[in-house]
């Protein structure tokens, strides 16, 4: 759901934009500066008022807030709630903000961290959370890292208050369009068939199977993927390991455990 108001688009009034980072690698913020040929034109569409990595000043008055990273502790949670109150539009930038990203992997191995470490290093190392588990997020921009081209195409839509519609087709389609050989046929685990497209088959184009960093396409089921991996002779465990990495497929994996549970009961 989009609840942002359209901004007046003229040269005098530019929307005030703030970039924030919670727990992440800063890679998505770095992507904002990439695609050098048009970077100044892109950045001049907005008035950046808070961007710790790039500018000195800070501000508590902004229209659009881009937030990178997952929520790992109480302090970040409070900060996030504050940002929600101040901003008209909150944009989750990248997989960490959208699904918890690579950070949520720690949830599955929390047992390995000693109590002493938990207290010493971080105030409360609970399961890192995605932004929409805490606040309402208006726009999601998927990917680890985000694709700058997509960011550039989404940004005008945010400004004009139009809804951002994400692709319903999988990465597979883009991969085929780019005339790549199917990696599953080459024995490489790949989640391209179930992952939301829009990255222009970034990883698969260079021979690396898809990791599902952009999350699943609608109506995809665990069983479909299992059948596919069986047919192509790919070990399902390696697909599951990749699915667990960026957090986008967590619901799908929960479904699997439920299914297993049911089959055990029967």
């Amino acid at each position: 759901m989009i609840r942002n108001k359209p901004f007046v688009l003229n040269k005098c009034v530019r929307p005030k934009v703030a970039f924030f980072k919670l727990t992440s690698c800063e890679g998505c913020q770095l992507q904002v500066f990439n695609r050098e040929s048009g970077v100044l034109k892109f950045l001049n569409q907005m008035e950046i008022v808070d961007f710790r990595e790039a500018i000195t000043g800070t501000s508590s008055c902004y229209d659009v807030a881009f937030i990178e990273g997952s929520v790992n502790n109480e302090e970040q949670k409070m900060k996030l709630i504050e940002i929600r109150h101040r901003a008209d539009t909150v944009v989750a930038l990248g997989s960490c903000a959208c699904f918890g990203g690579i950070n949520q992997l720690v949830a599955s191995c929390e047992k390995g961290i000693s109590e002493a470490d938990k207290g010493k290093i971080s105030p409360s190392p609970k399961t890192p959370k995605a932004l929409d588990e805490i606040i309402q997020v208006d726009v999601h921009i998927y990917g680890c890292p985000v694709k700058k081209k997509e960011l550039e195409s989404i940004f005008p839509r945010i400004l004009s208050g139009k809804p951002v519609i994400h692709n319903k087709y999988p990465v597979c389609r883009e991969c085929k369009q780019n005339h790549n050989i199917c990696l599953l046929d080459l024995g490489e685990p790949c989640l391209g068939s179930v992952t939301r497209g829009g990255c222009d088959a970034w990883c698969t184009g260079s021979g690396m199977g898809c990791w599902g960093c952009r999350g699943p396409i609608p109506k995809v089921t665990q069983r479909q993927l299992e059948r596919l991996s069986q047919r192509k002779g790919i070990d399902f465990d390696s697909l599951a390991e990749r699915m667990s990495c960026f957090g986008g497929f967590s619901n799908l994996l929960c479904q699997q455990t439920e299914d297993l549970y049911k089959s055990c009961q029967l």
């Binding site: 690698c25 790039a54 500018i55 502790n73 690579i102 680890c144």
Partner: protein, 224 residues
């Protein structure tokens, strides 16, 4: 003379790669404490990686940092190759080194021109700086583009690279494309000379302190 007591607390220093707070305590005009606090949240990568398939590790560990993701990726690959006692081919070693150099160039250009330089020209950030010094900005963007494009060509992606895998590369760059980059690298020499002359003009305040420099000596002479 009246005694000067003050506390300086800067939360989240801006325009640095990474996270840090600065804390300074001054009592009777003497600096009692100056602390640099790294406040990055712990993410427990060591624990995350345990139990994962070895060929998945480099892709995960590159997420430690977006700016130096290539290093994190390549070091993880090297660690795994060392475990297996595997020595990559000379071609692989050279391509990895090329990729690593491009990351260094990316990071240095980012730091010097986009984060630090505006200070030396009395500007607040690189956006006003790009208006007052378009020639320097364009030069910096050209160099950054070269580093990023070559990293894309060799590593598949400028950050969180996709082609380096344990044992070599999943896709190697085309000879024709690398030839174009050779030309671009040679013609960037002029920009690099201009940059170094510009950097020489920066007035860096005198600051020195007793420092113990430590470095590790590589066992294998050919790195990466």
């Amino acid at each position: 003379m009246s005694a000067i007591n003050c506390n300086i607390d800067i939360k989240h220093l801006s325009r640095v790669e990474g996270h840090g707070n600065l804390k300074i305590r001054i009592k009777d005009a003497i600096v009692k404490e100056a602390r640099w606090e790294v406040v990055e949240t712990a993410r427990f990568f060591e624990k995350m990686l345990a139990g994962k398939k070895f060929n998945n590790l480099p892709f995960i560990s590159s997420r430690i940092c977006g700016i130096c993701s290539i290093s994190h990726n390549l070091t993880a690959i090297r660690a795994i190759e060392n475990c297996f006692g595997f020595t990559p081919s000379v071609q692989t070693q050279r391509l990895r080194l090329l990729l690593k150099h491009m990351e260094t160039l990316q990071s240095h250009i980012l730091h010097i021109f986009f984060l630090a330089a505006p200070d030396y020209f009395g500007e607040d950030s690189f956006l006003p700086f790009s208006v007052s010094h378009p020639d320097v900005t364009n030069m910096a963007l050209r160099l950054k583009m070269l580093a990023n494009d070559l990293a894309d060509e060799v590593g598949g992606r400028r950050l969180h690279p996709t082609t380096p895998v344990v044992g070599g590369f999943s896709k190697i760059p085309g000879k024709k494309n690398l030839g174009k980059f050779k030309y671009r690298l040679q013609s960037s020499l002029l920009d690099l000379i201009k940059s170094s002359t510009l950097l020489k003009k920066f007035e860096i305040p005198q600051f020195s302190r007793e420092t113990e420099y430590v470095a590790s000596i590589p066992r294998i002479p050919t790195l990466l």
